[in-house]
């Protein structure tokens, strides 16, 4: 079945350093990949989505590139900010599945320090 694997647990960074959160996936068909972000005591919300190969979506300074050859959709940002501290989920939806049915990874917590 479909699965999503993310960088395990907690990633800590100093403000201003680059961010990279890993996401790899296993899928049977052509997947759509997503990044959701959840700040403390808030609901998850969509950060990025990618519907075509080798297109680079961007939002709030974050970007990700879907690489079908390596089954990856890593989240990157050139310079971390304190406000980026949050829980990040990578998620997958198969093109053949029910529209909107997502498989989430276990989440990566990013903590940015001054």
């Amino acid at each position: 079945g479909d699965s999503v694997t993310q960088t395990e647990g907690l990633v800590t960074l100093t403000e201003g350093l680059p961010v990279m959160l890993n996401c790899t996936y296993q899928s049977t068909y052509s997947p759509f990949l997503f990044w959701y972000v959840q700040h403390l005591n808030e609901a998850p919300k969509l950060l990025l989505k990618s519907f075509t190969d080798n297109k680079r979506p961007e939002h709030q300074g974050f970007h990700a590139t879907l690489h079908k050859s390596s089954s990856s959709f890593h989240l990157q940002k050139s310079s971390a900010q304190l406000s980026d501290s949050a829980l990040y989920y990578c998620a997958l939806s198969e093109a053949t599945q029910v529209v909107g049915q997502l498989t989430f990874g276990r989440g990566t917590r990013l903590q940015v320090y001054a």
């Binding site: 808030e42 609901a43 989505k49 989920y89 029910v98 909107g100 049915q101 498989t103 276990r106």
Partner: protein, 109 residues
């Protein structure tokens, strides 16, 4: 922006008791979802719905029922609550972009 609300926001229940979690959305989305969030497991899909009158099993449906009486409302029912169901529950609506409610923290003692 889309609006999804949940009630109650916090609930303490006893083992063996019945618990109903309610969700309301004002976006007119056909699809609605119930997830639970646990550290180390992320978000896991319990039940979902395509529209009023429909409910479908997600990845972890055991011990849960769902009800979709209208386009706006989607409930999650625990007929016999157990301590293993202690968790944070999120309702969402939408398709690829899902709009989440604020969550319900459920503790089963």
């Amino acid at each position: 922006e889309a609006a999804v609300t949940q009630s109650p926001r916090n609930k303490v229940a006893v083992t063996g008791g019945k618990v109903t979690l309610s969700c309301n959305q004002t976006n007119n989305h056909n699809n609605m979802y119930w997830y639970r969030q646990d550290t180390g497991h992320g978000l896991r899909l319990i039940h979902y719905s395509y529209g009023a009158g429909s409910t479908e099993k997600g990845d972890i449906p055991d011990g849960y029922k769902a009800s979709r009486p209208s386009q706006e409302n989607f409930s999650l029912i625990l007929e016999l609550a157990t301590p293993s169901q202690t968790s944070v529950y999120f309702c969402a609506s939408g398709d690829y972009e899902q709009y989440f409610g604020p969550g319900t923290r459920l503790t089963v003692l």
